[in-house]
Amino acid sequence: MAAEPSSDVESLLRSALRPIEPPENLAGRVEETLSAVTEAAAEELSAWAEELSESELRSLRDPRNWVRPAAAIAAGGVAAGGLVLVELRRRGSKRPSRLSGLTGQVSDIADQVRDQVRNRGN
């Protein structure tokens, strides 16, 4: 078999490497995990928040102040991160098992929130 010209290889690559549509449930899954992580971060912050001043607390009181609802919106019509959190609470302890592998993410987000609140306080 003769060597294929480079353009043929490129043509094959274009045909072989088509974009792949994500499964329909992936957007919801990302939304749920994002909400779960941020809620877990909120729980981690709860004890720390008792030491905050009133002005600092105001910035934390509504999770929508720091939980970005973007994933929820993109996932199809849940227009507020708060609704996602309510839904997650409704599901009680059925938190996704993969959350157990996200401890670092929870701590990072909690740290991020602490920094944001401190910066606002300055």
Binding site: M1, A3, A16, I20, A71, R98, Q105, I109
Partner: protein
């Protein structure tokens, strides 16, 4: 809106704008991140995990990335996150047998992948050879052909110069061409 009002709510406005920007990024590039993840890890289950992790990391660092982007598109940054996660995935599973795309588990819900390999032997061949390219060459080709990224975007995603990326892609295609020719003869 008066100046004082502007002064009183800049954080909220900024936050809302940031949220909208992240939403756009997520909506515009979910398929890119998923496609890249799939071609790197070779199965839908792990591609979903990598995609999910990529957006979690993006979420955490979005504000800084946007600030430092100087208006440039954030797709290369997003793909770089997926790229690093996929590399970690392979490192974590180094002892497991490697699978190529067409040997992976049956797909419960088709997402169009079947058409990639179905029926056309030459497409199977090019995918097999692609999987055996050096990592950087393979990854650059996935970005170019699956995601339609140009040299500059690929360079940013891989942390290389534009010139080095152009050479990388050229050599990758040439290697594929030579190996397909050799193995096909």
């Amino acid at each position: 809106m008066s100046d004082s009002e502007k002064v009183s709510v800049p954080a909220e406005e900024s936050k809302a704008e940031l949220d909208r920007a992240f939403e756009r990024l997520y909506r515009d590039h979910l398929r890119d991140v998923y496609s890249y993840s799939y071609y790197r890890v070779g199965n839908h289950h792990d591609a979903e995990d990598v995609t999910e992790q990529a957006f979690l990391q993006a979420y955490r660092h979005f504000e800084r990335a946007q600030r430092e982007s100087n208006g440039r598109p954030l797709r290369p940054w997003l793909i770089r996150i997926a790229h690093n996660l996929a590399s970690n995935y392979h490192r974590d599973r180094a002892r497991r047998p490697q699978r190529v795309l067409d040997e992976s588990e049956p797909i419960a819900t088709p997402h169009g992948t079947e058409q990639i390999v179905e029926g056309r032997e030459e497409l199977k061949r090019v995918m097999e050879h692609l999987q055996h390219l050096p990592d950087d060459r393979r990854d650059a080709l996935i970005m170019r052909f699956a995601l339609g990224m140009d040299n500059r975007e690929i360079a940013r995603a891989l942390g290389r110069t534009d010139g080095a990326t152009k050479v990388l892609i050229h050599r990758a295609i040439k290697q594929l061409e030579e190996e397909m020719s050799t193995n096909g003869s």
